[in-house]
């Protein structure tokens, strides 16, 4: 059965190489975990699109089912769910995130 919210999420995921579902905006994050994730992407110099789930309750609920992941933020790269704040922080601190993104063909301006 098709789910219109999941269809909306899927089209955003397909249209954006690096897509972050977050609370607030990159300039004004509304949650510490979202802020930390933006900080990591910014440090690496990754261009990304952000979707503020606080502005869209359907997406806020829908993304949790879509990804089978209970929390926000959530990062998608080239259509693949990479993880939330903890996983990104772990990859970043292990110097795995930049190679992962580079392998996906994402441009890192600060690499």
């Amino acid at each position: 059965m098709s789910n219109p919210v999941h269809d909306r999420i899927q089209s955003e995921v397909s249209a954006n190489d690096v897509l972050l579902f977050m609370k607030g905006t990159p300039v004004f994050p509304q949650c510490g975990f979202s802020a930390a994730t933006v900080g990591i992407l910014t440090n690496l110099g990754v261009k990304f699109k952000a979707i503020d789930v606080l502005k869209d309750p359907e997406i806020r609920q829908g993304i949790k089912e879509f990804s089978n992941w209970p929390t926000i933020p959530q990062l998608y790269v080239k259509g693949e769910f990479v993880g939330g704040c903890d996983i990104l922080r772990e990859m970043y601190e292990a110097d795995e995130l930049a190679p992962f993104l580079a392998e996906k063909g994402i441009i890192l301006e600060n690499a």
Binding site: W69, F81, G83, E90
Partner: protein
């Protein structure tokens, strides 16, 4: 009501009986926790899968009553 570290740890141990669970308070409010979970059940699983397994063990509480659990997982032999 936020969940206590003991409740979180108990639920994780029920799902992963061999798990080593280390709970650390991130704030002095009995609400913000960090959990390090090591279990043989994680062998061969991606990080995303490992975290999904722990979230499943918490039976829907993550993202609800439990909004601020920072999680780290690792496989053990």
């Amino acid at each position: 009501m936020p969940m206590s570290a003991t409740e979180i740890e108990t639920m994780i141990r029920q799902a992963f009986p061999d798990a080593d669970v280390t709970m650390t308070a991130l704030a002095d409010d009995n609400d913000h926790w960090s959990a390090m979970v090591t279990s043989s059940a994680f062998k061969g699983k991606s990080r995303v899968q490992q975290h999904q397994m722990v979230y499943a063990a918490l039976q829907g509480r993550m993202g609800g009553v439990l909004h601020a659990l920072s999680l780290q997982t690792a496989a053990k032999d």
